[in-house]
């Protein structure tokens, strides 16, 4: 379907984008790579009156090492994460997960800031960043603020970003301990029916598509921290969660997948940390 009409504005800087957001409020949406937003506009699930194109802000495309963290500009594309030597050395989980998003054409356009702002619980990168304990830097009319990723996802496709804020940077702690990502799907190029990301040998375990937001598998993390075996900890992966049911999988099957995939990911992460 052809999207509904909208007014198109090109942001010349992050500050200009914020000014335009402030002017237009919730009538406006930021357009980065567009690979979540444009399909939604085509299905008329999103009908913003104003699109603010931030896709030309080349200054927000970078991957830099700073003080034990890797700073990633919000407009950095998935393919750039995938091919980054710095990321492969410093946060291999993130580079590896980026290579599993969509397909190459999607990865050439999709951005890390866009995927976070979209806050799809079925997305790969938000869950990986959750396991890694990333920090999101949001710019608003009164400057920048840092949002811990554990506070960022607030509901189904909803985040802690205000209407007049844009993500400018994502900071990820260097994380070279045991890691793995398990993505279960049935069709090529599809979203995960369930996914599990493990960082730092199990101190960060997060789940894709097991609720209305990306989630930490807290019961599993706590069990591991208290000395439980991998098998015991993995049985707790879906503890207390209410996963969605859809045509691909009902809630019970999703819980089963979460347990099985968590065990596989933990085993793989343990193996790679020795």
């Amino acid at each position: 379907m052809i999207p509904a009409s909208f007014d198109y504005q090109v942001a010349e800087s992050p500050e200009h984008a914020v000014a335009l957001l402030t002017e237009h409020g919730d009538e406006a949406k930021l357009l980065a790579g567009g690979h979540s937003l444009i399909p939604m506009m085509r299905f008329r699930l999103a009908t913003p009156a104003v699109l603010i194109d931030v896709g030309r802000l080349q200054d927000l495309r970078y991957i830099n090492a700073t003080n034990g963290s890797i700073a990633i500009g919000a407009l950095t594309r998935h393919s750039e994460l995938e091919h980054s030597k710095l990321l492969a050395q410093s946060v291999p989980l993130l580079a590896s997960v980026a290579a599993l998003v969509g397909d190459p054409a999607v990865r050439h356009r999709g951005t890390i800031g866009g995927t976070l702002a979209h806050s799809d619980p079925a997305s790969d990168l938000p869950a990986a960043l959750l396991a890694l304990g990333a920090t999101i830097v949001a710019r608003g009319p009164h400057g920048d603020r840092e949002i811990a990723i554990t506070d960022f996802f607030t509901g189904y496709f909803e985040s802690a970003l205000a209407d007049d804020e844009m993500i400018v940077e994502v900071r990820v702690p260097v994380s070279t301990g045991g890691w793995d990502y398990q993505k279960f799907n049935r069709r090529a190029q599809d979203w995960a029916i369930v996914g599990v990301a493990v960082a730092q040998g199990g101190s960060g375990v997060s789940l894709v598509n097991m609720g209305s937001t990306p989630l930490r598998a807290s019961a599993t993390e706590q069990a591991l921290a208290s000395g439980a075996s991998v098998a015991e900890a993995a049985t707790l992966a879906a503890e207390g969660l209410q996963p969605p049911g859809d045509l691909n999988a009902d809630a019970e099957f999703r819980s089963h997948l979460a347990r099985v995939l968590t065990e596989r990911a933990l085993v793989a992460a343990g193996a790679s940390s020795t």
Partner: protein, 159 residues
Amino acid sequence: MKSITLAVNGTERKLDVEPRTLLVHALRDELRLTGTNIGCDSSSCGACTVLVDGQSAKACTMFAVQAEGTSITTIEGISGAEGAGLHPMQQAFHEHHALQCGYCTPGMVMAAISLVEEYPELDDRGVRHGLEGNLCRCTGYQNIVNAVLACAGAKEEQS
């Protein structure tokens, strides 16, 4: 309407488009470059794959205004000058019988050209993973994979 300037197959083009005009519609309807097909129209099938600044992109999932200032290559633009013959990837598709109805082929060829540039050491698995965003409903993919591997200069695996 917005005025945009972009290079299409090496020629600068100026267009007046509605902001909501998708790149694939601008290419097909405004520039009459109908080699780029529309399949699923929802960024799944890859029939509309073109190169944006040398990298594969789905032209149904970009607004034409986003292509302002970029260099677009479509299937019409890969064989070079008139009479220069097929692009090596087209030639490989031809030799390996990598198409039947041909509907997916322009997008498949463009995605494959981008793929071999991006991943220099492709194997069978890499080609299959790399082309997962391009659907073919005829061939079962085997000959497409063979063609891409041949073009990439990779050794074809004997099963």
